[in-house]
Amino acid sequence: MASVAERLQVSPFMTFYIIMSMQIGVGVLGFQRVIAQTAGHDAWISVLLAGASSHLILIVLYWLLQQADGDFLLLHQRLFGRWVGGAFSLWLALYFAAMSFVVLRTYIEVIQVWMFPDLQTWEFSLAFLLLCLYITVGGFRVVVGICFFCLIIPSYLLFTFWFVLDHADFHLLLPILDHPPSAIVKAAGQTTLTMLGYETILLFYPFIKRGAQSAKWAHAALLATTLFYTLLTVLTLAYFSEKQLQRQIWPTLTMWKMVELPFIERFEYVGIANWLLIILPNVCLGLWCSSRICKQLFPIRQKTALLIIAAICFFSTLFVHDRKQVDLINTILNRTGFYFLYIWIPCVAVITYIVKKVRGNV
């Protein structure tokens, strides 16, 4: 089950693009407010801390994958038995499906507030999920292609932050470290939602050629994401004062208002339209991972599982109506991801280690 035909595999270099495109999602637009509420102008230290911890978790993930021979679901099965292990895997499938759904709904909310107030949730959701189905049905290689292009093409947006530098006052970051460490750590926990995405390695590891060599690319991706987020947080904290920041739900979008180009006036429209490219891999990979788990747990084809999960995502987007509910689903996903990565994975690692010592192998 863990070995995949070579013609379906991708080179280890692509791990960089997959992980980085999964991590950079809809959270980038508005994560600064939450952490600034907890840690104030030291929030950038929280981001660095969260990034460092993600490296540690990634090491644990790779170790688990080596033990499980590339198949994480098999590990669940071996450790907890067929039914309980299957239940945990199913929960993981729900988690990935929820990730797709939350990302999509949050993005639709951004569009509805900033661009098209009359946009019906269902029409955009339907079209977008159909596009994601088209991509995912093509297989893992097409999904990776989308990850690749959807990271490279919007990368020009980095240059737009140059315009914000003019108005930034870095003195707002001083004095450093005058918040209690507990606040900084708490804020680090709150950035988990934006750092989520690399746990998909558990599912796509068999699709990477020479999987063990992909570790360096995965770590490079985490490093790049951490640096990007830290720089963005620093810039946000330098641009907005603390009170100002509390009033912005999407500080990144507000910062884009500063962009002055001779041929475009309001740049945030272009930015939001480009954001469609950035969230596309998130939703696609989430659907792909989820349907793959379902394929391995139940006797259904992956295409059928994919249709069902996409339908569930579509109907779920209809039930979320206003800002409060969007905020709620984001918080739930954040907490779930945090518990999965920082509590469940270490537990599984410890249990695997013990079982290995006792039994000799898993």
Binding site: S11, I111, L119, Y134, V142, G145, F149, I264, A273, L276
Partner: protein, 489 residues
């Protein structure tokens, strides 16, 4: 489908129902033998027959078919009694000579008429510098043009016949030892599996053996320049030549090759790279400019800087239609002009083209049916779509503009981004002879980018493209160590 085995006699009887099949009786003066000569008149070169064959037939002494064969100065002559073979050769322009009317065995003598176009300059892929030979419809001449440029034994030609009615000769050409055997096998196998009756042109073959038949993007490159084919064969590709078609197919191919004209290789690499980038920009411009016009004017007028906004609003003030209808009207007019111009005879076509273009354009602006800004944009976009050196890709580009327009009308800028993702996904699905179509972009082959968007000088091109997985990746030794000289040494 197997016909019942017929004899030569019945075969000739069936053929006799056509007026152009002749059987004539001649007498050899020396030996007194009677000769029955059968041939299909339009296929035979009568001058050759009268000058080279008949004098020997009528005057030289011989007593059997074997003697005849020795005497005749024609090299391709052999004795046959197979009805299928006789029929096939009669239609190729051979003479069938028998000694008695009911004989089953006869001598087949080649007297083929070869009428073909003279070699002309390429019409579609014209280049200002460089050779100006182009392929013509005859397979033999095309092979001659190709072999002239690669005069080595490794240039392998595999011949098959395709088409039950047309029995077209199809030649698969590749460099043995350089081209990947998988690619060659794929091509040969697919051609062998073609089931078709009348194979007229190489574009029929493209449509049948393509990996993705339903895609508007062409997956095999077609060209009419022998120098281009020679160059890509040296890179390790496979060429398919079809008798009766001046277009030769090349595969496996990638998306970036459809935007490279062969003239790029004749110019200096800096200039060539600049032209390539202009071409890419013009393609992007051509696809996106009218959808952006529709999107910004419908939904995002705040994007336009306020000075330009004034011009746009004045140009649109009197127009009774929403931007999408304006754009569709103009786009359809341009497509109409193009289609009509393609079918009109030359003398009338030029006049109508100029009159139609200028008059319709100016008149529609004066009548306030369209705005002059949009007219400029649509005309520029149409021009830009013709910069693609491959005709088939130009058509695809014009076609893709319409879904973008539709999405721009529905969702504005978001729709344009959405449609772009759709097109990108579609391109990710495509393969050319099993190889990814978007290489060297995805999967990223960094070394192949030297010939994708820019063209690096020939000294950097010492390796063959990685995507082709050739058997000999090194073309020539690129580095010659030059002694480093200091200033004024």
């Amino acid at each position: 489908m197997t016909a019942p085995p017929e004899s030569v006699w019945t075969a000739l009887q069936t053929l006799g129902s056509s007026m152009d099949f002749q059987t004539k009786v001649y007498r050899n003066e020396t030996s007194g033998l009677l000769l029955w000569v059968s041939y299909v008149e339009p296929m035979v070169e009568m001058e050759t027959v009268v000058r080279s064959i008949f004098p020997y037939l009528f005057h030289c002494p011989f007593s059997s078919l074997e003697d005849m064969r020795q005497i005749l100065p024609i090299d391709d002559a052999y004795i046959s009694s197979d009805p299928a073979d006789v029929k096939a050769k009669l239609f190729e322009g051979y003479l069938f000579i028998r000694l008695h009317e009911t004989d089953e065995t006869g001598l087949l003598v080649k007297a083929q008429k070869t009428l073909e176009r003279t070699l002309t300059i390429p019409e579609v892929e014209f280049s200002v510098v460089g050779p100006k030979e182009s392929f013509i419809e005859s397979l033999e001449t095309n092979l001659y043009l190709l072999r002239k440029r690669i005069p080595i034994d490794r240039l392998t030609v595999k011949l098959t016949r395709v088409g039950t009615l047309s029995k077209t000769k199809v030649a698969v050409v590749y460099l043995d030892g350089i081209a990947n055997p998988d690619n060659v096998q794929t091509v040969l196998q697919r051609i062998k599996q073609i089931e078709f009756d009348e194979m007229i042109d190489s574009s029929y073959i493209v449509q049948i053996i393509s990996d993705n038949r339903h895609s508007p993007f062409p997956q095999l490159l077609d060209t009419e320049r022998p120098d281009r084919v020679a160059a890509v064969l040296a890179e390790g590709k496979v060429a398919i030549m079809v008798d009766g078609s001046p277009h030769v197919l090349i595969g496996p191919t990638t998306l970036v090759e459809f935007f490279s004209s062969f003239e790029d290789y004749f110019l200096n690499w800096t200039i060539a790279s600049f032209f390539r980038l202009i071409r890419l920009f013009s393609v992007a411009f051509s696809i996106l400019i009218t959808p952006m016009y529709v999107a910004t004017l419908n939904y995002h007028y705040e994007l336009i800087p306020k000075d330009l906004l004034g011009t746009l609003i004045t140009s649109r003030r009197e127009i009774p239609f929403p931007p999408i209808l304006e754009v569709l009207f103009l786009e359809l007019t341009i497509e109409l002009l193009r289609e009509a111009g393609a079918r009109l005879p030359t003398k009338v076509g030029q006049t109508i083209g100029i009159v139609g273009g200028i008059v319709i354009g100016t008149a529609s602006v004066e009548a306030s049916l369209t705005s002059n800004v949009l007219l400029i944009l649509v005309a520029l976009a149409a021009l830009a779509s013709f910069t693609t050196p491959v005709y088939k890709m130009g058509n695809t580009i014009r076609l893709i503009r319409f879904p973008f327009l539709l999405f721009a009308e529905v969702w504005g800028l978001l729709g344009v981004a959405f449609c772009f993702c759709m097109v990108m996904t579609h391109l990710l699905y495509l393969t050319s002879l099993g190889r990814p179509f978007l290489a060297p972009l995805y999967p990223p082959r960094w070394r192949d980018l030297k010939d994708a968007f820019i063209r690096l000088p020939f000294t950097s091109q010492s390796k063959r493209p990685e995507t082709l997985r050739t058997e000999q990746p090194i073309r020539f030794s690129g580095k010659k160590v030059r002694k480093k000289r200091d200033i004024d040494e």
